[in-house]
Symmetry: C2
Subunit: 325 residues, 2 copies
């Protein structure tokens, strides 16, 4: 039996060739992969750009996430940041550092994940360039680009007193999935594999970002470090206090409560501090008709003693820190 | 004595805050760092984008390169790919993965290097976003963007039979610097520290890329994996054979010959296979007046048995492979 082909045995050129051939193309690419740079259309004379990184052992474990999962997640987490500006994702560049002994089949599955996430979450978006480097641990860095289609970007800093605070997407499910994996409880992992799959392959509500912008959202971000931490970011950037109505979080809590009981965890903690669902959190004028994907969860108050309140209680800025964990 | 502050002791937010405050701003940034994405101006309705990664232990050693050097090099190596399209670098996003015990002073120096490289090599270009993550080894991924200012991009595939092959920038100096460092010969390292400094902080001829495009360059790329390997890329993409005149490489060789003798190395090998000077290699119509920065080194022939010739001899595709080294 011949041993498995690795990226080291194939070399950079051949490894990239096999990977690129599996990708969908970006409908905005004037020049795609293969030259020193790609050239991307930006019809309204501007583009949005963001970058985010996944590090083995810190952001993922290869025992828990396949190459496919990681490709999918790398796209989802980055284009959520594009959507949070009210933009349509158009193109990605992907830098992968991986050990030389990594099998080419892992990289091919990673490319499949990139492709499927683009096609499912943001049709028309595709990978336009990349880089493959040798390292001791897997590090995946993506830069994602989007088009505002002539609209103004929706920033974190525009929330106005009297606005409604609303969320699109799910809260706490990815955190539930992570806790289930960490528990090692195979029965629970099997019983609640829906949440494990949200952890592996997040499904951010990308189109809702554009809908929010068109409806006049005054501020928006993607909840990547947890509701408490990210809502505090809007509050601080906008010089307001956000007050979340705890009753409005019960629906998010209820869905994952059974899983929480199975491993003796707190569902509400997942809802408040879990980030990786990549929900969109936005504020809208009180008289706006919220886009269908958005559910109201609170209101915007004048700046008070605490930036964030859960009912009558200040809510501390708990959540994920990408350095400390 | 208090212990040094690390990125782990400060956390992500504070570490980023200290770093971002040291950066210059991009003159193309409509929205800079601090939101989910940046917004960049693209007045001609398109932009170029490329990505490149530096990995500790593979692309650099912290004993040989300071944080400042690495920031400088990360900018230089990426904007050379922008320049190679004939574009003006406008903006960068920078993702850094580093161990939690990394001192904040290292990250601050890295930011200083990013800033100084932008200001020196591509005024107006700046960092518009970034990401900081925890890892076991340092991995620096940059995505760089540029404006074609209404021009068509210069690709690798446009070389025409009869064109002149020319190079802007230096060849072999960074390879000399690396070989000197690897030799451990402190006298030689000291005597030829100019080449060591090219290895640490490359000085690619960024403006020459635009000059080449304006002069009608038919193909271009940045020499990042060595002249032999990168010239072969143009030849293959353009379906031609490139013939380099060995006499025209003597000037590049002469400059580093003394250093080569000092550590018993071959200067011409550095010229042919050393990449990290990030020179620009381009083809021009025979009747074009070459931009000042470009020196003719060969001609474009009809596709022959070998894609690349050094005089009458086929030149194999030797050079750097980012996976195999």
């Amino acid at each position: 039996m011949s041993s498995a082909e690795t990226i080291s045995s194939l070399g950079e050129n051949e490894s990239l060739k096999r990977t690129i051939s599996r990708l969908n193309s970006s409908s905005s690419a004037l020049v795609g992969p293969g030259d020193d740079s790609a050239v991307i259309s930006a019809p309204d004379g501007k583009f949005v750009v963001t970058t985010d990184t996944l590090v083995e052992g810190h952001d993922f474990k290869t025992e828990w996430s396949s190459g496919y999962d990681l490709g999918y997640k790398a796209v989802a987490s980055n284009i959520a940041d594009v959507a949070a500006m009210g933009a349509v994702p158009t193109s990605l560049v992907v830098a992968v550092a991986a050990p030389g002994h990594t099998e080419i089949s892992w990289l091919e599955a990673f490319a499949d994940g990139l492709r499927d996430a683009c096609e499912k979450l943001a049709p028309g978006c595709g990978v336009v360039g990349g880089d493959l480097a040798a390292s001791e641990q897997i590090v995946i860095s993506v830069a994602a680009h989007g088009s505002l289609e002539g609209r103004e970007p929706v920033l974190r800093s525009g929330a106005q007193v009297g606005d409604v605070l609303a969320v699109a997407g799910t809260l706490g499910r990815a955190a539930a999935g992570l806790a289930l994996l960490q528990s090692g409880n195979q029965d629970a992992i099997h019983a609640y594999d829906d949440w494990v799959n949200v952890q592996r392959r997040p499904q951010p509500p990308i189109a809702a970002g554009v809908d929010a912008a068109k409806t006049g959202a005054t501020s928006m971000l993607d909840v990547s470090d947890g509701l408490a931490k990210d809502a505090t970011r809007i509050a601080k950037a906008s010089n307001v206090t956000l007050q979340i109505d705890p009753l409005q979080l019960q629906g998010f809590e209820a869905v994952i409560e059974e899983a929480a009981r199975a491993i003796d965890a707190e569902a509400m903690e997942w809802v408040l501090t879990g980030g990786e669902d990549h929900a969109l959190l936005a504020t809208f004028p009180a008289d706006a008709k919220l886009p269908r994907a958005f559910k109201p969860i609170g209101i915007v108050l004048p700046q008070g003693a605490a930036p964030l309140m859960l009912g009558a209680q200040p809510l501390p800025e708990l959540g994920w820190d990408s350095i400390r964990g």
